[in-house]
């Protein structure tokens, strides 16, 4: 896992109260929702709120495909790197 991916994994754990999961348990290429960590749409909202606060990112469903952005920690990290405000 790259340091950027670890930062995103850490953010997910904090924002949806998954303290029992450690960063190294997360596979950056596995799905975040349903099959992976079992997160739901309110969690997605929570994570998007955190992205808004930390990186000034405003996620919209028509930004690519939200499903893709949230498909894995790796995909979310790429999205953040490409869209964060300086």
């Amino acid at each position: 896992m790259t340091p950027e991916q670890a930062e995103i994994a850490e953010m997910i754990i904090e924002s949806v109260n998954l303290e029992d999961v450690s960063v190294d348990e997360i596979n950056p290429d596995e799905p975040i929702f349903n099959d992976g960590l079992g997160l739901d749409s309110i969690d997605a909202l929570e994570i998007s709120l955190e992205l808004n606060k930390r990186y000034g990112i405003k996620i919209k469903s028509d930004d690519q495909n939200v499903g893709e952005i949230f498909s894995s920690v790796a995909a979310l990290t790429d999205f953040v790197q490409a869209n964060k405000q300086a």
């Binding site: 949806v16 109260n17 303290e19 348990e25 349903n34 079992g38 909202l45 919209k60 469903s61 939200v66």
Partner: protein, 452 residues
């Protein structure tokens, strides 16, 4: 039913609009391709797609099944329990689930909507079938034993008429548009995005926006006056974004927010009202009853029953029944309430075993049973602290938390998954096998110390 031939804009999309007449016509085209009396699980999220399928199935004397959640086991369990040769699932992106190919119907709703208007003479005989057509909904997202609630179109239409009358959705001045974050598969969403608009002058936004920016974009697009239909947890998150919500002119009838599924607290209602420049309303109801009462949260904490509804106390249990005199229906309420006058009441709380997370209802007993049944879990118990809306759980197990979550997500709605999951050496059961409330409080404070 004559409103269903209207050619006025009804469902709004970013790149178009559909009238009621177009949607009913598309349903007519679809119905010709359906078998007699099909039983169809409707997983569509776009309101017009949902509605075309809903109508088409009713035209063929069929039944529409609306699942309480989208967990694969729930959907398969419901389908397995249906005794019909003509049962199938339809929705967008059904490849998300591992359904067997033959159970999924591929429907090109966009094509159906452009297949031409059907005249009144052909549609009328089909519309006459609507009142007896059935919709199956389910209470509780927690287990495979969710209780089935059967509503006919006739019931839904008459229930809708009460809300339409309360909120004045039938008034002829500029009709409002509904923008909703709730799914049409649940009673609150079914009412607000389908039945209220279909049988009033309301318009409806096709999408189900979730993120703050999506909701803002939808509000910008549809222009006031508009109703934003959502739920407390979602509204709470929305107010924390730095989104610039459309600011409506003081004098114009701009945004109204409608919330349900759990009581909205006054502080949150105030924040929503201020940040979103909106008046905030709530409806009170359940899957069994649909909405039965409303209030404007910052004006009064008392709920006012819709017309021709009344409450009757069962003196033995202290619970109340809502009686809909005009519909010949009576339902037991799950909440503890106190009547204030013939048509007004206050809600005091929920009966203890039932909990709600993100608008989904579950029984703690059921959730604990599922948790304890996971192979590799020796003992476990769910717990809801004062501090969080979400559930936590204590478990005795050598499994990893991911393994436990994955096992649980097969059998319960993901909103109930523990956040967080605490591993403990033993669950403090007493000699009767029960777990005293105080013992759980202590367990929680111990685990918090460990984390901190």
């Amino acid at each position: 039913m004559k409103g269903l031939f209207s050619d006025d804009p009804f469902v709004l999309l970013e790149d178009g609009r559909y009238s009621r007449h177009q949607i009913v016509s598309a349903a007519f085209h679809l119905s010709r391709a359906l078998p007699e009396a099909p039983v169809v699980m409707n997983l569509y999220t776009q309101r017009h797609e949902f509605l075309v399928l809903l109508l088409a199935v009713a035209f063929k004397d069929g039944i529409i099944v609306l699942p309480p959640n989208t967990a694969e086991n729930t959907l398969n369990g419901l389908m397995d329990a249906i005794d019909s040769r003509h049962k199938f699932i339809a929705g967008a992106r059904t490849e998300r689930w591992n359904f067997e190919d033959e159970t999924v119907a591929r429907i090109d709703v966009k094509h159906l909507l452009s297949s031409g208007l059907v005249d009144k003479a052909q549609l009328s005989p089909l519309l006459r079938k609507l009142p007896v057509a059935q919709i199956w909904l389910y209470t509780s997202g927690s287990t495979g034993q969710a209780k089935k609630v059967v509503k006919t179109w006739s019931q839904m239409m008459r229930l809708a008429a009460k809300a339409i009358s309360r909120f004045g959705f039938d008034r002829t001045e500029s009709p409002r548009c509904v923008v909703a974050t709730v799914p049409s598969q649940h009673m609150f969403g079914l009412e607000t995005t389908i039945f209220w608009p279909l049988f009033s002058r309301l318009k409806v936004w096709a999408g189900r926006p979730m993120f703050a920016e999506d909701i803002k974009a939808a509000l910008d697009f549809v222009k006031p006056p508009v109703w934003l239909v959502s739920a407390p947890l979602h509204l709470k998150k929305l107010t924390q974004f730095d989104t610039e919500w459309p600011s409506y002119n003081e004098s114009e009838d701009g945004l109204k927010v409608l919330s349900a599924t759990a009581p909205l607290d006054v502080a949150l209602a105030k924040t929503v009202g201020t940040k979103m420049h909106a008046r905030v309303f709530e409806v009170f109801g359940s899957t069994e009853t649909a909405s039965i009462a409303s209030r404007e949260t910052l004006v009064s904490d008392e709920w006012r029953l819709y017309d021709h509804n009344c409450l009757e106390e069962d003196k033995n249990s202290g619970t109340y029944d809502v009686i809909m005199q005009d519909l010949d229906e009576r339902h037991r309420l799950q909440d503890t309430i106190r009547t204030v006058s013939a048509d007004r009441f206050r809600v005091l709380g929920r009966q203890s075993d039932l909990i709600k997370v993100a608008g989904k209802r579950a029984s703690m007993t059921d959730l604990n049973r599922i948790l304890q049944a996971v192979p590799g879990i020796e003992d476990g118990v769910f717990w809801r602290s004062e501090a969080s809306e979400r559930l936590q759980a204590f478990v005795v197990s050598n499994l990893s938390s991911q393994e436990i979550r994955q096992a649980l997500s097969k059998s319960m709605d993901v909103v109930f998954l523990p956040r967080p999951l605490h591993f403990v050496k033993r669950i403090p059961r007493n000699e009767m096998g029960k777990i005293p409330f105080q013992a759980l409080l202590e367990l929680e404070s111990q685990t918090r110390e460990k984390v901190g």
